[in-house]
Symmetry: C2
Subunit: 268 residues, 2 copies
DNA sequence: CGACTAGTTGAGGCCAGTCAATGTTGGTGG
DNA sequence: CCACCAACATTGACTGGCCTCAACTAGTCG
């Protein structure tokens, strides 16, 4: 079997001309940390997908200013746990996270698979406590956005307010899509939807939409799709036999996206 | 079998002293329509669960002022369809609605069962188009809340802003609960959760939490729970045999809520 | 009264789960 | 560098829970 290349990061299709940091900012090196030099909304590659999308340069600077700090997580480290007090949203700068909801009896369900530019923590706003837990799937870095500051700024900046509402609303829409998947699709449809969905999200981030590396185990994928890990594994094998995909561990290559789409919505 | 009484509306437990309309308001009858006399946030029985929860009298009046109008729906009438332009949220004043998401192939999934005081339409904010459709399960009346006006007012009124964010966040939390249910629970657990959840919601609205009337068909309940109508029907019968509930068509009486809770989270 | 919709119940089949054995991979330390 | 180990993944055989198909009943509304 031909080895599968790793996905190649590209410039996001939606990105404008490369943002240049204003001349004055970097000079007083003594008071600006290395971290500050590197990470600003203005220069972040995710600015076209993240909370500040569509803001003016000036507005973006203000959003930048409310980023309390940036947190680095190693693989399998927890960003927050269910029940912990909520105080901030998190924007993923680098890496990826899974969010899992827990039943009282300990059963857990992967509710979401979040990557670059996604905002997590939205479920904590309603109760002031996080309702699920977020765990890094690889080495990951997030911007910490204190929620009271976001609200303050949103009152003064309609564009930010609108973006915040859109982010929350899209999370609702996304969840409803998962509900449709879990409630009415058969196993092979679920996996096909999952693979196509990932392809689309990688594409929008400027990565290859036909080759990518899964960051989750078969068990986590299964949990996300309401399936057992053995079922996921069997389906990967079958899709490969049928020439729809090529799999090697977590490296996936979509060979026939059309056929995958046709699987979705098929009776038997 | 003893007939099951219809649920008796009570004063919501959270309600303060009965709100009295300011003296001057009702007098110029010529310019105040009958609708206006009846329906204001200040006097609405759902004000402790709906968007204006916790607002001052003055703030509530301002929210009141942005209610464009109120729409009456007969049973099975559609409030909005998937794909229609989004312009307003809707607060349920009387009655109940289901929201359904549709797959391309026509399959549909009941995403939510919404009652008095619930806000629907939140999924439309992100794309400016409604992502699902909302259909009245009985004769229903909703307050129409134009979203741009909500946003305008929310910028000036932190308490409203906070409430809006909480409403959206709780929708996310709720959806995650449904995902947990659909992804990891067996049929009998799903129905038990559904019945207990309804009991809790009726309780918070001041109705009986042990006797209520379902507004959905077996098929709709099944769709909501990711089951077929026959399975739902069988489970109702079995729960009744086991003395957990009493069912007569859509009238349900919970006889042993403890046992229902114990069903949830049981292996086999 | 007949047509229709909603609901109940039974028989049998199938998809995905369960249990179990084996293979593969990646990280660690000798 | 390689041996080792643990975690991850694959595959097979069997099981069982829910679906499918179908017949029948109970209300409801012209």
């Amino acid at each position: 079997m031909a080895p599968i290349a790793k996905p190649v990061p590209l410039v996001p299709a939606t990105a404008g001309p490369p943002a240049v940091r204003p001349a004055g900012v970097a000079s007083p090196a003594a008071v600006i940390s290395i971290r500050d030099l590197k990470t600003h909304c203005l220069t972040c590659s995710m600015r076209e997908l993240c909370l500040p999308v569509g803001l003016t340069t000036d507005e973006m600077k203000q959003v930048d200013a409310l980023v309390a700090n940036r947190t680095k997580l190693k693989k399998n480290e927890t960003l927050y746990r269910a029940g912990e007090p909520f105080h901030a949203l998190f924007a993923i700068r680098i890496g990826s996270l899974k969010t899992t909801v827990l039943a009282e009896d300990g059963r857990e369900q992967v509710a979401g698979y979040h990557m670059l530019g996604d905002i997590v923590g939205l479920d904590g706003i309603g109760t002031d406590r996080h309702g699920c837990e977020a765990i890094a799937l690889e080495d990951t870095e997030v911007c910490v956005l204190p929620f009271v500051k976001i609200e303050d700024l949103a009152r003064a900046m309609p564009a930010l307010q609108r973006n915040l509402h859109q982010v929350m609303s899209r999370e609702i829409t996304r969840d409803q899509g998962v509900m449709l998947l879990l409630g009415s699709m058969r196993a092979e449809e679920r996996l096909a939807v999952f693979l196509l969905n990932l392809a689309d999200r990688y594409r929008r981030r400027g990565y290859s939409s036909t080759e990518y590396v899964l960051r989750m185990t078969r068990e986590e994928i299964g949990s996300h799709l309401g399936l057992k890990l053995e079922t996921v594994s069997r389906l990967f094998s079958r899709f490969q036999e049928e020439g729809l995909i090529q799999v090697q561990g977590r490296a996936v290559k979509l060979l026939d996206a059309g056929a995958l789409k046709r699987i979705v919505g098929q009776r038997g």
